[in-house]
Structure formats: C-alpha cells, structure tokens
C-alpha cells in the first residue's frame, strides 16, 4: 500500500512536471516554493571552453592569501599528493593546488584564492574529476586558524591589506561553517553568513551583520555533482535556486566582491562557466559490470525509481520534482532552517538584491529527487551524505548509526566497494566513539540523520542486486 501510494504520487508529479519554460523572474513569486514539479527556466548561453578557462583562472573570488606568503607556506609544508595533481592552466598558476586560482587583488599584488574546485573537484582514482563533489574535504576545523597563522608571514602594506581583507571575512563567517564530520559541506550556511554581511543594495561588506546570521551548527550537505546541472531546473537540495543558474552561482563571489559593478564584471563570464558545468559528463564506472544483471536491474529501476529520478539511455527524461518531506522523510533540518524564519529573511535578501534580478530563492518543504547520472561516484548518499553506500540506501534498516570511511580520500580504487557502491567504511560503536574524531559520521546528531528514503526496503535481495548493477551504468 505504501509503495503503491508513492508510485501514484510520483506518476502525478511526472505528468504535471513539464510546465512551459520561463525566461523572466516574477518578482511577485512567493519566497517559498511548492513541492512537486519545478518549472524550467531558460538559461543564458555561454562558451564551454571560455567557461573552463574562467573556472580555473578568473578572479570570481578576488581576495585571498598573498601569493608570496602562499608559496612560502607551500615550501614549508608542501602540497599533499592530490592537491599537486596537474591541471592544464597558465604558467602563472604553476605549482598551485588545482583548487586555487592566482588572481590580482585590489592592491595590485597577486593573491591565491580558493576556486570552485575546493568543493566541486575530487581526485578520483588518481585523476582530477571536475564537478565531482569532494566527499572527503575537511570543514570541521575553524578556517580562521590557518588564515590567522599565515598572517605571521605577511610583509608590507599591500600584503597586509590583502591579508586583512581576507582574514577579516573568514573570521566573520568561520563560526557558522564548521561541521561535525569530515566530508560534508556547509555551503548553505556559508552563503547565509555572507549575506548577513552584505548590503542588499550596494553589496558592500558590512563589518557588523545587518541580516540574521545562520545557526552556528550548520546543516550538513553532500555536494551534488555538476554534471546534473544540465538536467536540473532548480539548483540545490530544496530546489531553492530558481531562475538563472549562472547568476545564482555567483553567490560564491560574495566573500570578496564588494560592489554591484564587481559582480557585474564576474557576471560577464558566469554564463560561460555555467555552460561548461552543464557540459560535464559523469565518469564511467571503472570496474566490471554484469550486463545481463544490469539489464534486469533497469526493469527494477524503471518500475520503482524512474518516476522521481527519471530515465536514462538514448532518450533520457528527468521529472524535476521536489518530494514533500512527509513522503521522503529524510532528515528535515536543512529544510527546516531554509524554510523557517531565518530562511525567509535569507531568501528575501537574495530576491531583493542584485541576484534577484535574474534569479529567485524559493526553497520548498521537501527535497529534490536528483538525477542519478554517475551516481556510483557520488557516495555517500542522501542530501546530507549520511548513508555510505547505495546498497544501504536501499535497505534503511541496515544503515549504520555511526560510521567512518576507511580511506582518507578517493584516490585508491581498493577503497571502493563495488558490491555496495560506496567507499568502504567501518561502523563505530557508541562506546568506542571518540568525540574528537571528526571522521566519524554520527547520524544521531541534529541534521545528520540517515532515515527516510525507505523505498528500497520492499525490494527483494535479487532486485536490489540487479538494481545496483544497473546503477553502475548511469
């Protein structure tokens, strides 16, 4: 009965899901979206090659550590193996980690800033996969600690001015972006903290926040892969990123861009970056696939999953729906923060600002059922990364309460569990859990829950196995 009800619901959503495509933002739109179908929006076109170049070179984050200081720190401490992986860039970037760009700061000296790959790039089995969310990034530490210490190496007025600008802003947002577990991301809180420090009209930085600050215990999110961008009508887990995606992406520039004119400069090439992101293809599953089993798994998928997650192959279709929280029943905290009083103030600022000219923040009380292209590579699962494998996603009563990855990164194929589709992990008992071990994912923490999405529970063991095999092909 439960499955039948869900299936019927999904069919209805699918049938209603393909509204006429919009190309303008309706300023009268409510800040809160309804669950169900997400209308399409015409995206600005862009040049894919220019977009890739801009992503890896352009000053969309134009504050950071003075280059001389950064390179001195590199000499002292070195890059880790993954950070040093080669990526095709201009010579001025030689030796810099792939997740940083060398840009010219406001004083005219070069600074090294984080680029989008800090969160949206992963060295997978020895190769950099642009667009794959970094599920091993550590945001559990206070970023001010490292930035402040770098200040000891700063020399001269220009370096000091650049460093102070960067360090002051990091200090302002740091209390709101620290997570409990390595691997998850606090991007929602980061954006909210930046908004609190930005004037809605002029976009100047406000030392004293004039908008509500987010909770200091950020809801964790698993970073979605960029290759879904081409299919999705709205960005983010709650479908809150409506309208022009290129404009929304520039929220990443809010750390440093101090005026509307600066944002407009970045906006000139933002559609190129968006075009590049939309062109990215997911990595192919690198291990063996049992084709016959995968074929039977496709039947299982199209019977039980496609209504929400779409179909794949030669004629793919993706319904673009937000599933009500009462139905999906996964951890609600992210949604509650975004759709509560704080979320309203946040959305109001966004919609009244330069961003609202082309886009609209409108979270829904539910979660988007994402497209599943390259799903094998995006472990762990659910919006908060609370379930280590697809196998466990399909068996809700088997999910570990506390668990820890066995690997520290995604570089070793031996660390990948080809049976369950996810990174190998170990369960951690409550008694043995070290509260200081930030590698333990504790699903009893607020926002870190692993419940919900129990739709796989009623599948037979054989169906689950076939389904897993099929998912390898996406």
């Amino acid at each position: 009965m439960r499955r039948l009800g869900w299936f019927t619901f999904c069919v209805v959503l699918t049938a209603c899901g393909n509204n006429a495509e919009q190309n303008t933002i309706d300023k009268n739109t409510d800040w809160l979206s309804q669950t169900g179908p997400i209308p399409a929006f015409t995206q600005r076109s862009g040049d894919v090659e220019k977009g890739r170049h801009a992503l890896l070179h352009a000053p969309y984050v134009n504050c950071g550590t003075p280059e001389r200081v950064f390179r001195e720190l590199q000499q002292s401490f070195g890059n880790d193996q993954n950070a040093a992986i080669a990526v095709e860039r201009d010579a001025s970037m030689d030796g810099l980690p792939y997740f940083t760009n060398r840009v010219i700061g406001k004083t005219g000296i070069p600074v090294v800033s984080s680029n989008c790959l800090t969160c949206h790039g992963t060295v997978l089995f020895g190769e950099l996969v642009i667009g794959l969310g970094n599920e091993f990034a550590d945001f559990t530490q206070n970023p001010s600690v490292a930035v402040e210490r770098a200040g000891a190496l700063v020399q001269g007025a220009d370096e000091t001015a650049e460093w102070e600008r960067f360090a002051d802003r990091v200090a302002a947002i740091a209390p709101y972006i620290q997570l409990k577990t390595v691997g998850v991301n606090s991007a929602n809180n980061l954006t909210a903290a930046l908004i609190a420090h930005r004037d809605v009209d002029t976009h100047t930085w406000l030392d004293k926040p004039q908008n509500p600050l987010p909770p200091t215990d950020p809801p964790p999110v698993s970073v979605p892969p960029w290759w879904r961008m081409s299919k999705k009508h709205a960005m983010f887990n709650l479908g809150e990123g409506r309208g022009d995606h290129a404009r929304i992406m520039l929220a990443a520039s809010m750390l440093c861009a101090d005026s509307v004119s600066e944002l407009n400069e970045i906006d000139q090439y933002a559609p190129d970056i968006r075009a590049y992101l939309a062109s990215i293809e997911p990595p192919q599953y690198p291990f063996q696939i049992e084709k016959d089993l995968a074929n039977s798994g496709q039947d299982v998928f199209e019977t039980h999953c496609s209504a929400c997650h779409g179909t794949y192959g030669d004629t793919p279709d993706y319904p673009n729906v937000v599933i009500p929280i009462e139905t999906i029943n996964t951890d609600a905290r992210l949604m509650e923060v975004a759709t509560g009083a704080f979320g309203q103030a946040y959305a109001q600022w966004f919609n009244d600002s330069w961003f609202g000219e082309l886009s609209h923040a409108a979270p829904a009380k539910g979660y988007v059922a994402p497209p599943l292209d390259g799903i094998w590579a995006t472990a762990p699962y659910l919006h908060n990364g609370s379930v280590p494998s697809i196998g466990l996603l399909l068996q809700s009563d088997q999910r570990p309460t506390r668990w820890r990855h066995l690997a520290a990164d995604a570089s070793d194929p031996e660390s990948y569990d080809t049976g369950q589709l996810g990174w190998k992990f170990e369960t951690v008992g409550q008694a043995e859990q070290d509260p200081n071990d930030t590698w333990v994912y504790d699903t009893t923490q607020a926002g870190y829950g692993n419940g919900g999405h129990a739709f796989g529970d009623q599948l037979s063991k054989a169906q689950r196995r076939a389904l897993l095999e099929y998912l390898k092909t996406l």
């Binding site: 200040g151 000891a152 190496l153 360090a167 200090a171 200091t216």
Partner: protein, 359 residues
C-alpha cells in the same frame, strides 16, 4: 667540535624549552630527554622545588663530588649584562676529568634572557607589557640529562633578573666580578658552586645585529669556556604573532599549544593543540578565544590529553593580563613558555600560558 659551531648549536638549542632536534658535530641528538629531565620540564616554572630536588638528587651530588671546581684566576670584561639588548645569553661550559676514574665530563650551564618591548599603544588584553623571560638550562652531555628552569614575568618580581653583578633565575645565579679584561664568573646552585676565571679579553664576533663574545680558560683538571651572546630581536613586521608552547610529558611525548593573535589587538585569537610523539604529530582541536566570554570556542576551555602514562586535563588559560608570579596561583603549576614566530628563524618572543593540572 669547533667552539664557534658549538656556540651556534647552543644558540639554536636555547630557543627550545626542552626537546629540540639539535645535533652536535658527532651527530649526538639532544632530542630525547630522559625521564628526569622530562619531569623537570614539566615542572619548570613552578615554585622551583622540583628542580632543586633534581639538583640535590644523588646523581647531581656525585657530579659535584667527583669533578673538581675550576680555580684558575682570570677576569675578562664583556660578560656583564647588556641592558639595551633585547636578547642575551650566557653559556658556561666545563669539561673536566674525574680524579677517580679519568672519565671526562662535559656540562653546559646556560642563562637566557629575553626582554619584550612593551606594546604600549595596543589596547588589547593580548598586548605585551614589558614581559621578560629568563631561562636556566643545564645539560650533561654524557648522561643526556637536561634540567630547565624558567621564569616569564614582569620585571622586579625577584624571581629572575639581570643586574650589573649577576643574572639569576629563581635559585640559580651567575655572579660576575670583572676588572679590565679579567673576570671571574661564579655559578651558584644549591648543591654546587662552579667558578670560572678568565684572564684574557674575550674574543668578539658580530653576526648581523648579534654580538658573540667568548673566552676560554683552563682548570687543573679540565677546560672551561664562556660565551656571551646578545643582540636585538629581529622585528616581526607581519600583522600576526604566533606563539608556541611545548611541554614535554613524562613519557617524552610533547604537548604543543599554538596561539596566534593580531598585533593590532583586533581580530581573532586562535588556539590549537597537538600531540607530538617522536616527530609524529596528532592535531587536537582548534579553537578561538572569545574575549567577551573569556573562553575558548567552540569547545570548552579544556583540552584533555591522554597519554599512556599520564591522563590529565590541561586547561589552557589565556589570562586577561599576563600573570605575575607562579606562587600567586593557587591552582597549580605555572609554565613559562618560549614563543617563536612561524618561521622559527626570524624572532623569538617570550609569552606566558598557564597550564593547570586537574585536581
């Protein structure tokens, strides 16, 4: 070993409280203090009793009994204090031969004084207020025993100071009696007195802003030398000062606490802790100091250190003002710390962090 190289080695070593990776010419490593020296390290800066006990231990008495006190008369100048210099160090060395066993013994006694320029214009609880730090360190090359005694405090508290006639740290002093190029330096400790007599003018070498003066003498059963090094501390021009504390625990692991603060007094004060075991470093938590609440955040002002032989909670107290006297503290041991810049080769500043063992 060439005296000059030896001097540089000591100079480098003086900036470590307890366990630096300092090598001598022979490759002799000084980075593994014994249990005794570790205890001394842990207790240094307390009321001094522990160090006195150590010096009065049978081993120390044996040294005093078996090795003759140098007695050659001499008296060069230049071993007096240099009050205009922010950094100053005396190293008194004795290499003597036992009357009983013909065994040679090499002991270094070292005083270090670092004076901090007051940051009078900085309205911050973190500003330095004319803090001075003194350290006495004794190292026995044969037994690898190291004892360290430190005091970091404002001047005129009578725990440590430099005068025209002496430099002293708690119960240990070096007294100078100079006339022309001749000088007599007497090291006074509770269990023993050593006297060095020099009758030549010291040789001076200047490296950058640092002056090194040294002289050599002979005893009846050995040789002795003194080096006096002084200079200005290089100025840190960066907006942030890094401070670091290392404490050697009884099992030879180190607890390292690092603090950063902005010279301007604005911005965050960060604190982090790490456990270091034979070069392997395990980071503990990072925290920020909340001035208004007077506590570390996001975790409480407590860092628990569990070691195989020791389990205790160390509170990292970041006082509103620099603390004064170890004996003033009813809570426990006060540790003086050496504070150094990130680069470790640019500057050295003294500071103070109090560590309170759990009661």
């Amino acid at each position: 070993m060439q005296p000059f190289k030896f001097l540089l080695t000591l100079f480098a070593g003086s900036f470590c409280i307890t366990a630096c990776d300092v090598s001598t010419d022979s490759g002799h490593q000084l980075n593994k203090p014994s249990l005794n020296s570790a205890n001394a390290s842990l207790l240094f800066g307390g009321n001094g009793a522990s160090l006195m006990e150590l010096l009065n231990a049978p081993q120390a008495k044996e040294i005093a009994a078996s090795f003759p006190t140098p007695t050659l008369p001499a008296a060069p100048q230049a071993f007096k204090p240099e009050p205009e210099q922010r950094f100053e160090q005396w190293t008194l060395s004795a290499l003597t031969q036992s009357n009983d066993t013909d065994e040679w013994r090499w002991i270094e006694q070292q005083f270090v004084r670092v004076a901090l320029a007051a940051e009078a214009n900085v309205e911050s609880n973190w500003a330095f207020r004319d803090v001075m730090m003194h350290q006495f360190q004794r190292y026995d090359f044969q037994t690898e025993e190291r004892e360290t005694l430190q005091a970091a405090e404002r001047r005129a508290l009578s725990l440590s100071d430099v005068t025209e006639e002496s430099v002293f740290v708690r119960g240990v002093s070096a007294q100078f009696h100079s006339q022309g190029c001749s000088s007599k330096i007497t090291l006074k400790q509770p269990s023993e007195h050593f006297t060095w007599n020099f009758d030549q003018c010291p040789q001076r070498t200047q490296i950058g802003s640092t002056v090194i003066a040294n002289a050599f003498t002979q005893f009846e059963n050995g040789v002795g030398w003194v080096t006096h090094t002084y200079g200005q501390l290089p100025k840190l021009t960066g907006p942030v000062i890094i401070e670091e504390l290392r404490v050697v625990m009884p099992d030879n692991q180190q607890l390292r606490i690092t603090r950063s603060r902005r010279r301007s007094g604005t911005g965050p004060v960060t604190v982090s802790a790490a456990q270091v075991d034979e070069g392997r470093e395990t980071s503990l938590r990072d925290a920020l100091w909340e001035e208004e609440a007077q506590k570390l955040s996001p975790f409480p002002a407590s860092i628990k250190i569990s070691l195989p032989t020791l389990s205790r909670t160390l509170l990292v107290q970041l006082p509103k003002q620099w603390t004064t006297n170890a004996n003033d503290s009813p809570l426990g041991v006060q540790h003086g710390v050496l504070v150094k810049s990130l680069g470790n080769d640019e500057s050295v500043y003294p500071g103070l962090i109090r560590l309170f063992p759990r009661r």
